[in-house]
Amino acid sequence: MIEERKLNGVRLARPGRQKKPYWTVGKVIVYLFLLAGGVMMLLPLLWMITTSLSSSHYAMDFPPQFFPKQFDWENYVKIFTESGLGQSALNSVIITVPAIIGQVFASALAAYAFARLRAPGKSVLFIIVLATLMIPGEVTLIPTFILFKYLNWLNTFWPLIVPNFFGNAYNIFLMRQFFMSIPLELDEAAKLDGLGPFGIWVRIILPLGKPVLAAVAIFTFTANWGNFLTPLIYITNPHLYPLALSVYTMTETGDNAVLSVPWNLIMAGSMLLTLPMTLVFFFGQRALYEGSNVLGRVG
């Protein structure tokens, strides 16, 4: 992404324009908007951080104190010892890791088949894959719930993990586009060396498709880590709650509402929920860009 920007920067500085001074009225306005907008985007986040660090007394202060008089790191201990978010975070990991593995490999396998192998009925099957993109998850929600209930999967992690092992249309499409850009000669050479389709998938396609595998892994992570509706339906045992659900239940203090809500702890919990996601996005930026770039070309 960065190279592109720089390239563009060079491109924008056209010969005729170079004599113009950098600071024009327009530039100043652009910077003013950027600064104001940037601050407005970051302020809520900063508020989350400062609230998470203020003691319950200061959190309730009126008018609200933007910077707490003293930082209270205790909250980040309390969410583990008192609110039990440690177990929930562990649950979230137990759900998310297999989900990512299943999603990446199931989708990559199907994507490879659609990108490379020939078989009768392939185009019809691919149209079916694309058609499922149009189907909102809500239509399948109730019968799927009934199915999992009869499998005795309520209050287990299976309903949150297993569906990922079938892949999904969006990821298959994305990966297929990427795999098709891998030179066919590599397959041919591998074939001469005696590799079968599975060998080619493992030795050629997966290593060369790393950016798109990473992109799909990131998408799957974000979809599962922050998921709220599915665990809400399938999991009622608080010990099995994933993080998103546990942080939400911290608002249900039982008795007299608003005032007794421990906002400082909730914000600390929200930070715990947010941080992995933000980190993954920022460290995965490059892979996201390279991996999903193919879609941009499709329009």
């Binding site: 920007r5 563009n8 920067g9 056209r14 652009v30 910077y31 907008g37 985007m41 970051l42 809520p44 986040l45 989350m48 009126f62 609200p64 199931a106 396998l109 199907a110 490879y112 088949a113 192998l117 020939r118 009768p120 392939k122 185009s123 079916i128 149009m134 189907i135 909102p136 998850g137 809500e138 239509v139 399948t140 929600l141 109730i142 019968p143 719930f145 009934i146 199915l147 209930k149 092992f165 079938f166 892949g167 389709p197 922050g226 709220f228 509706l229 809400l232 659900l245 942080v247 939400y248 906002w263 909730i266 914000m267 929920l273 947010t274 996601m277 933000t278 770039n293 941009g296 329009g299």
Partner: protein, 317 residues
């Protein structure tokens, strides 16, 4: 567009061979096909049990009354007539969802586009500005809602802030008439997610278009509307369709706010009927209505957009 699969195999090349070779070829072909079916089988098993099966099951259920304890009862179209009857909450939910979608989607796109234009200028610290605008869209919905619940509290930071400018802030999520504007405001915070797509699109616009229009005397604003917008129109369309579908599927925000009917939307309504009252048949009827609405919106937007969206390399009639 290149969505249509390019699966026409290179037959000619393979057919030239002599007979015994062809037999061998056929065996290889059959082996290849076998691998194909094997590799796509996980998806299609999932498709059978988790997509097409449940869709048909949901359709079937929508003609029954079922609370999951007693055996289901066939009631014909009764659920649908109940869902669509004048005093049903369905219309409240649809109205709220429509209000939310029609305001938040255009506003979000305009804001994202505006930010993208700013970021596409020759500015210093571009990476940092981009990160600042992008950051909110990476936060999980649950955390976003809890944060804004706290931020938009009647005596919260937001009202305190606009109070500095002499504006008396409303009670937001406590006041039924301000719940939806609150939701929209909260949604706009994530607009930076769309900015990234627009920025990528802007990088792809060939500079000669701007040079040519500058020679014709077009200023930056004119160029924005005659070059940038048409060239970005496929991405705008993508965001419109995704945004509309997404706002019809809003759940988490509304569920956490939990303010009765002021912000009742389609999916929370479905959830309430299915998992609070266990009206599985009735909820399935809602699900099907939602399905039809989403498909209809997608079709209308795509049809309508055919006039406005410009695809490079497309042959115009």
């Amino acid at each position: 567009m290149s969505i249509v699969p390019d699966v026409v195999p290179a037959k000619g090349r393979l057919r030239k061979s002599t007979r015994p070779k062809r037999l061998k070829m056929d065996r290889m072909r059959r082996r290849e096909a076998m691998y194909f079916y094997l590799f796509v089988s996980p998806f299609f098993i999932g498709f059978l049990f988790l997509t097409i099966g449940p869709i048909l099951g949901s359709l079937l259920l929508s003609f029954t009354r079922w609370n999951m304890f007693l055996p289901p009862q066939w009631v014909g179209l009764q659920n649908f007539s109940q869902v669509l009857s004048g005093n049903s909450l369905f219309w409240t939910a649809l109205g709220n969802t429509g209000y939310y979608a029609l305001i938040s989607v255009p506003l979000g796109i305009i804001l994202a586009l505006f930010i993208a234009v700013l970021l596409n200028q020759n500015i210093v610290l571009r990476r940092w500005f981009r990160a600042a605008f992008y950051l909110p869209s990476t936060i999980p919905t649950v955390a976003v809602v809890l944060l804004w619940l706290w931020l938009l509290a009647p005596a919260g930071l937001f009202n305190e802030f606009i109070g500095l400018f002499g504006i008396k802030g409303p009670a937001w999520f406590v006041d039924p008439s301000w719940v939806k504007p609150g939701l929209i405001l909260m949604g706009l915070w994530g607009a930076g997610g769309g900015t990234v797509l627009f920025l990528a699109g802007m990088q792809g616009i060939p500079p000669y278009l701007y040079e040519a229009s500058a020679l014709d005397g077009a200023g930056p604003i004119r160029q924005f509307f005659t070059v940038t917008i048409p060239m970005l129109s496929p991405i705008i369309l993508f965001n419109v369709v995704n945004g509309l579908i997404g706002s019809f599927q809003v759940f988490t925000q509304v569920y956490i706010l939990g303010t009765n009917n002021a912000d009742l939307m389609m999916v929370p309504y479905l959830f309430q009927e299915a998992f609070d009252y266990f009206n599985m048949g009735y909820a399935s009827a809602i699900a099907w209505c939602l399905f039809v609405i989403i498909i209809a919106i997608t079709m209308v937007v795509l049809r309508w957009s055919a006039v406005y969206v410009y695809y490079e390399g497309e042959v115009r009639r």
